[in-house]
Symmetry: C2
Subunit: 429 residues, 2 copies
């Protein structure tokens, strides 16, 4: 613990804490790479970068991964490794007015390890945590720069043009549905006539919309997209399926896991809830297949991509990887420039040719605000995307950023993840 | 119709018929590319290559796609386009002793279009068809070179080291499970502990075995593989899942769609059958998830890759693409060399460094013979692969053969598929 902070001639370096939170993505490690490589370039002001083992739990439990133990090559390889290299978590801090204990513990850990920079990489719930930590620092008079870093395949953070992780899922979904559609088209005369791909997206249809990028004209797949935003009307859906099969010989459907009836019931409510209280979904594809088969008798197949879609680093979007790195890099630069309580953000400067730069958004305006997909992105009939959606989405899947392969498989890195020595008593939650 | 065949000074060229049969793959069009490009190089002996629209149905219905209408660039692009460019079918000819009508019709179409070469690209049922056509030509005294070309993701043809299409599914499955496992590992402390990926494979566990390539040591995913060859023992399975979660924090499972109980019942029997009489399966993953959840209470996720796995040209195996092309190229060369009633085959000359060449197998020894996976490829405990399996499988996923991308998506070709003028009365099946 430095006690010479700010003393002329003393070591003015302070340590950084970085953590990954919520569902991981194909590119969240590219952000970690951006944070750590940038911090290493500023060794005069930033000491060690400690990564929380399993997100904020790492701070609470004082399980701080000492990233200085990793080689430059290992850190560089994070750029092409999916998943969360330090572990992530679904854990939401209680509001301080309800329980101060977690906040007191965070302060103790920060003080013990001289944490002067707090980088929190996640979605809406995580930006709320970053915001609470910034308020905590202020309340306690403890100098700490809190910078949120966006991440979520759901693309639902406000004040950023997109969320790193989303572009790669979007690319995976668009590529996969184009490929599967070629398969179905080949066989439809004597075999499968209806194919359903279930994609992620509980409340917003961003990922389902991305499937629409595979469609050049209305005869191309996906012929129907089911959005959480459009109430599911079984009769109308079946009519559309029948018309499509009659016109094209087959029908390919991209269905949001969050597809729901007008009364709000999910088609595939599993009845369980995660730690944030969100309903855990899965299985809308088989439900739809059954609806189609029993009403129309068509032979069907269905796929549920589940985690495959958000971990598919092998088909990551090149621009997504770049932006994921950039929001991490900028977070460190913002902190060093004296900024606090902001999130790094992607700012679009032009649709075509696509232009972007890094900007910032105040955490208090980001936390707990969910960005919905604009109504203007969904076609009037409710089953496809508009030109405006295409204009927004297309740049986000541009470029390929292939990982290196050894013996036919991607050579993803596995870090040492050595913990820094503990200085405090164990945390009893 | 040429009537100057064999006459000195006359046109001795005869036309070729090529068709794709059964489930399509990521690389069956690479085989088509091999056939057509090679035939074009032998324009002195082969006239047009007609492709059957929807496989053998194209011959019966006299729907012959005139591939000479396609540009060299379009044909070359087949090499990187998944699905069956000319349409495939699930249609099995009745045995001639049961119904001669189909065979009489084939002869009429062949005569009308001067078909001297018959290239049939498919799995076991299709090689049986090729064999029957060869016998038909002999019986009728009609000169036709019948060459079978192997294709099947199931890898179950005998007398060939592997079946084009399999290597690419194998790579897709191994890459996908490695990626998803990194996702699960990141989150297991507070979220999903068990992840199940359902893969194709009704009777043989070749594809499930390929998932095992992602495992370096026993702590790596996939921790458990469920093969159709190993009777499913629920109690033992649950014990293994619990032990794995207790040791590693999470458990990743690759499950064959054909996973079955000791009495032969599939875990996910859908009750429907396809045109060949095979049971149509799907949904073993959710069944397993339910078994795990109700006995052990672990949070789970599951994915069903379905057609995504066999159409994923974006992550095709480089060696698979090469071999798919080569079996097509060799089929034409064999026919021109006077061979008949054989299938082109891949012959392995060395495991490491991997060596292979093209060989041949008599159709009568290929037809209706299913190659099972050797027992020696499954680990003694039934849940993993052996070193022998790895030695066999690893070369088959080597190399990447990326398609070209435009605007972030693979630029797959769509052919004109113009039909040759019909010369016969319509076929009434």
């Amino acid at each position: 613990m430095s006690n010479t902070r700010g003393v002329p001639g003393g070591d003015s370096r302070r340590n950084a804490f970085y953590a990954q939170s919520g569902g991981v993505t194909a590119v969240i490690n590219a952000t970690a790479c951006g944070v750590i490589e940038t911090a290493r370039r500023h060794g005069d002001r930033i000491g060690k970068v400690f990564a929380g083992r399993n997100g904020i739990l790492g701070a609470l439990c004082e399980e701080l991964i000492d990233t200085s133990r990793e080689t430059p090559a290992a850190i560089a390889a994070l750029r092409e490794t999916p998943g969360g290299a330090f572990g992530s978590c679904r854990y939401k801090l209680a509001p301080p007015e309800k329980d101060e204990r977690e906040y007191a513990r965070l302060m103790a850990v920060f003080r013990a390890h001289d944490i002067g920079y707090f980088f929190y990489n996640g979605g809406g719930d995580s930006q709320d945590t970053a915001h609470k930590v910034a308020e905590l620092g202020e309340r306690e008079g403890y100098p700490i720069a809190c910078i949120g870093i966006p991440k979520t395949v759901d693309n639902d953070l406000p004040l950023t043009d997109t969320c790193p992780g989303f572009g790669s899922v979007a690319k995976y979904v668009a590529v996969s549905i184009r490929e599967a559609a070629l398969d179905v088209a080949s066989m439809c005369e004597t075999s499968t006539k209806v194919f359903i791909l279930e994609v992620m997206g509980r409340h917003a249809g961003w990922i389902a919309a991305a499937a629409g990028l595979a469609q050049h004209d209305r005869h191309d797949a996906p012929h129907l997209i089911l959005f959480p935003e459009t109430p599911f009307d079984e009769e109308d859906f079946l009519k559309k399926v029948r018309e499509t099969v009659e016109a094209n010989g087959y029908c390919v459907i991209a269905a949001s896991e969050g597809t729901r009836y007008a009364d709000g019931r999910f088609l595939a409510e599993a009845g369980t809830r995660d730690a944030f209280g969100h309903a855990q979904l899965g299985g809308v594809a088989p439900v739809l297949a059954e609806i189609v088969n029993s009403a129309l008798g068509y032979k069907y197949h269905w796929a549920v991509a589940d985690y495959l879609q958000r971990s598919a680093r092998h088909i990551a979007s090149g621009i997504d990887v770049e932006q994921a790195y950039a929001v991490g890099e900028a977070a460190v630069e913002f902190a060093l420039a004296g900024k606090n309580a902001v999130m790094t953000a992607v700012v679009r400067t032009c649709d075509k040719p696509y232009g972007w730069r890094i900007g910032e958004a105040p955490l208090k305006r980001v936390a707990n605000v969910e960005r919905r997909m604009p109504k203007a992105y969904i076609r009037k009939d409710g089953y496809g995307i508009t030109a405006a959606a295409r204009r927004y989405l297309e740049p986000l899947i541009a470029g390929e950023a292939y990982p290196r392969y050894v013996n036919g498989l991607p050579n993803y890195v596995s870090l040492k993840n050595a913990l820094a020595p503990k200085k405090l008593e164990p945390w009893a939650a």
